[in-house]
């Protein structure tokens, strides 16, 4: 059997999903969309029950991608029912979604979650009455403590049925529904969706369009507004019959601190900076250990195996690829997602987005983009993964461009290890300044040229809650596995390809080919080409490779200060590392990934050449 799990955002849906399915969750993008669906299964009475977890929704009638997807899934006919999760503390708003879902005629089970919070808030809910009004089974649960969640699947299997409640629409709307039914044979649901402009049948859609125009003319409201008003009127009425009076909400109001400019913005800045520092320091500490362990136990012993030279090259390359993958995944990505999940689950994230909204607008994004952008200083990969939460494709595209420009900790190693060490601290800081300028300019430019409309933020401010350790851990480790699955094969293949090219001397030929560009325009020694290429595997490998090729770690002995500076600028700007590109092409499509790669290569060479010209 197969059930969809749906509900508003922040109703504890993912917690319920985890409890229903346990292990073995499969995450995939629904074909042709960027919407992420979680599927999980469990066994009840020797029967497999599959649960499809839809993203949090306020409505299935909207024009967002996930809303359209929900409509498709609910009406596709391959579900045995839907489990609808409502928030007991906010029944009216949640009933709005329920009334829409009820219209689809899918068999339903209603779960009223957060009963514990409702009780704390002094609310009483008459669930049998709700069940009577809706005509479906209603279960009261508190997923945080696991209360009653075990009942959900048995009840869904045995007693899911279509709801009997129907929304009485405005007389003109009802008349239009009847007309569409009589003249074109459109069922009620199809007629409503067509009037709302979201139908799938073009013939019905055209007729409905004319009717809708008439209705909008006489009501001076959009059909969507009228439908929403009608549904909310009924939702309010039902909530009134079910929910007992609330006493005043107790407790301290932390929002007096968090969502004001003062001290909210300093708190936000402090938190972001703190997170960055933790990811940065703890991350690079762990990375050194992991990379060192790989080196000591897996890479350095290889020559003693006495393999034939080509085989040895390949084995070393495979290990170097794995080393790069684990060196990024465990320290940076796991750490970052632990912190990010804490922020998300505590509800602070929405406050951060609110405070940063205006500033982010200048770059064509909204407040939510601040987190990925700041986190990109730690590592671009989790930043790109976090950017998928941004609302529109336009925002995700802009964010992807900017994130890949942010100097991550690996690039900071280059800036610190080369420029600060051999040229000077002011020169190192000037690279940061230059990159920040480039990022701002790119953001302003992209907000002008990227297709799509600028969308304002309409974001529910989640209530502040204590995050649950197990959920935070589960979420983070899932992300890390996701990254490893995606990037490890690419890293290994990339590393092997580079190794083989090097072995057959093709890399040297390539170096000669590019020598005029590097020596002539950029003023760099020709072996810098190879160093930059290896930097694609893991950015800070550029320094190591350079030192090997130059024959000394004291780069100032073989390169001028200007050459060191230009090399650092080039490797900071040019081409994100393979892991970043892999995530980019999955999250934003290969076209965007290619565009960003070309953009950054041109940017790196252009700026490097400009510096060389200006100082020689």
């Amino acid at each position: 059997m197969r059930f969809a799990l749906l509900g508003n955002p922040n109703v504890g849906k993912s917690l319920i999903f985890n409890q229903l399915t346990g292990l073995g969750v499969e995450v995939s993008n629904y074909p042709g969309t960027t919407v992420e669906l979680h599927r999980g299964a469990t066994c009840v009475d020797r029967e497999k029950v599959e649960i499809v977890d839809l993203p949090g929704l306020y409505s299935i009638d909207g024009d967002q991608e996930e809303e359209a997807l929900a409509r498709r899934i609910l009406t596709a006919g391959d579900l045995d029912g839907a489990i609808l999760v409502l928030n007991a503390t906010n029944l009216e708003r949640n009933l709005y979604l329920l009334l829409q879902v009820a219209e689809t005629g899918i068999p339903l089970v209603v779960v009223v979650n957060m009963m514990d919070e409702a009780e704390t808030a002094g609310l009483t809910l008459d669930l049998p009455a709700l069940s009577g009004i809706l005509g479906v089974e209603v279960l009261g649960t508190a997923a945080v403590s696991g209360r009653n969640t075990g009942q959900i699947i048995p009840v869904a299997r045995a007693r899911a049925r279509p709801a009997t409640v129907t929304v009485p629409y405005d007389t003109d709307i009802e008349a239009a529904i009847r007309t569409l039914g009589k003249e074109l044979g459109a069922p009620r649901l199809a007629a409503i969706w067509a009037l709302d402009g979201i139908g799938t049948d073009p013939v019905v859609g055209e007729a409905a369009g004319d009717l809708a125009k008439e209705i909008e003319g006489s009501h001076r409201m959009s059909v969507h507004q009228i439908l929403a008003l009608n549904r909310y009127t009924l939702a309010k009425e039902i909530a009134g019959m079910v929910v007992g009076k609330a006493s005043a909400r107790p407790g301290i109001d932390l929002d007096r601190l968090l969502s004001r400019e003062i001290p909210g913005i300093p708190i936000l800045a402090g938190l972001l900076l703190g997170m960055l520092l933790v990811v940065f320091t703890v991350g690079s500490f762990l990375e050194t250990i992991i990379v060192g362990l790989f080196q000591q136990y897996l890479i350095d012993p290889i020559p003693s195996l006495g393999l034939p030279p080509l085989a040895e090259e390949i084995v070393v390359s495979v290990m170097v690829g794995l080393q790069a993958g684990f060196g990024i995944a465990l320290p940076y990505i796991l750490l970052f997602f632990l912190l990010l999940s804490l922020l998300e689950d505590s509800g602070y994230m929405t406050r951060a987005a609110f405070l940063a909204d205006r500033a982010m607008h200048r770059g064509g994004m909204h407040g939510g983009a601040i987190i990925p952008l700041v986190m990109a200083f730690g590592c671009n990969v989790p930043a790109l993964l976090a950017a998928r939460n941004l609302g529109t494709k336009r925002e995700r595209t802009i964010a992807a461009f900017l994130i890949t420009l942010v100097p991550c900790s690996a690039r900071t190693v280059i800036i610190a290890g080369m420029v600060a060490a051999f040229v000077g601290i002011p020169a190192a800081l000037s690279i940061y300044g230059m990159v920040l300028l480039i990022i701002s300019a790119t953001g302003i430019l992209l907000s002008r040229v990227t297709p799509g409309k600028q969308v304002g933020m309409i974001l529910e401010v989640a209530p502040l809650r204590r995050p649950k350790a197990d959920l935070v851990l589960a979420k983070s480790s899932h992300r890390v596995m996701d990254f490893l699955r995606l990037a490890l094969p690419l890293l290994v293949v990339g590393s092997v390809v580079l190794g083989i090219l090097d072995y057959y001397g093709i890399l040297a030929a390539f170096e000669d080919f590019l020598a005029p560009l590097f020596v002539g325009i950029l003023g760099l020694p020709s072996y810098a080409v190879t160093a930059l290429l290896f930097g694609i595997l893991r950015k800070e490998m550029a320094i190591g490779t350079l030192a090997v090729l130059a024959g000394t770690a004291d780069l100032s002995a073989v390169m001028t200060e200007l050459q060191i500076y230009i090399f650092a600028v080039m490797s900071v700007l040019f081409v994100p590392c393979i892991s970043t590109m892999a995530v980019l092409s999955r999250e934003n499509g290969w076209k965007i990934a290619l565009l960003i790669t070309v953009f950054t290569v041109l940017l790196g060479i252009g700026i490097g050449a400009m510096i060389n010209l200006a100082f020689t």
Binding site: D63, R93, M221, Y232, S259, D357, G456, I458
Partner: protein, 213 residues
């Protein structure tokens, strides 16, 4: 002289004066694409009715009655151009040309409503933008005009087809809301139907509210 030509001429004097120094008859003729003889004659008429003054050097300056007319027409031009270009998406040049025609015919009420419609969006890039609306007038306002903690009623939502999410979340005409937070940059948090919703400045500006009786 018909009032269209008169208004255009006064507006041209204002625009050119703001750009640099007081214009001459020749400047005005070139700016308006009319011949200089006609313009000089019209300037004489306007000078006679006390709307402007001809200086000895051949330059023209506006007198208070002329200044008032010119400013009103220029304001209308700006509002119309802004609406046509930034709300309806017309080419800037075409919008400006169209505004030149409309500015003479459009009623006070249309201009006031258009101005309200555009106001607060913060996205109008027509320079020297000013509010044409009388201050102290009753009726719906945007959220930006109320202090935090006010209980308000949604009077109307502008560009109603643009933000379905607003409706789905329960922000509908007639709904009551509490303004929980208002930042100086225009972003707000409102409590509606039992949950708090953060809105960008542009979105907040779409919501017209009234104080609850």
């Amino acid at each position: 002289m018909e009032h269209v030509a008169c208004e255009d001429l006064l507006e041209a004097v204002l625009v050119l004066t703001r750009k640099g120094s007081p214009p001459t008859g020749g400047d005005l003729a070139a700016f308006l694409h009319r011949d200089e003889v006609t313009v000089t004659a019209q300037l004489g008429e306007l000078a006679a009715s006390g709307k402007l003054e001809m200086e000895p050097g051949g330059t023209v300056t506006l007198l208070p009655p002329g200044q008032a007319i010119a400013a009103r027409v220029a304001d209308r031009h700006r509002i119309l151009e802004c609406f046509l270009a930034e709300r309806l998406g017309m080419e800037r040049q075409a919008a400006s040309g169209e505004a030149c025609h409309l500015e003479h015919q459009v009623s006070e009420e249309t201009i006031r409503r258009l101005s309200e419609f555009l106001d607060g969006d913060g996205e109008c890039s027509v320079p020297d933008w000013r509010r044409a609306r009388d201050t102290g007038e009753a009726g719906p306002r945007t959220l930006a005009e109320y202090p935090e903690g006010t209980v308000l009623r949604v009077a109307a939502i502008r560009h109603f087809s643009r933000e379905r999410r607003l409706e789905d979340i329960g922000l509908l005409p007639g709904e009551s809301l509490t303004l929980k937070r208002r930042l100086s940059n225009g972003s707000v948090v409102v409590e509606v139907k039992g949950s708090e919703i953060a809105l960008s400045r542009g979105v907040a500006a779409c919501i017209l509210v009234e104080e609850q009786a």
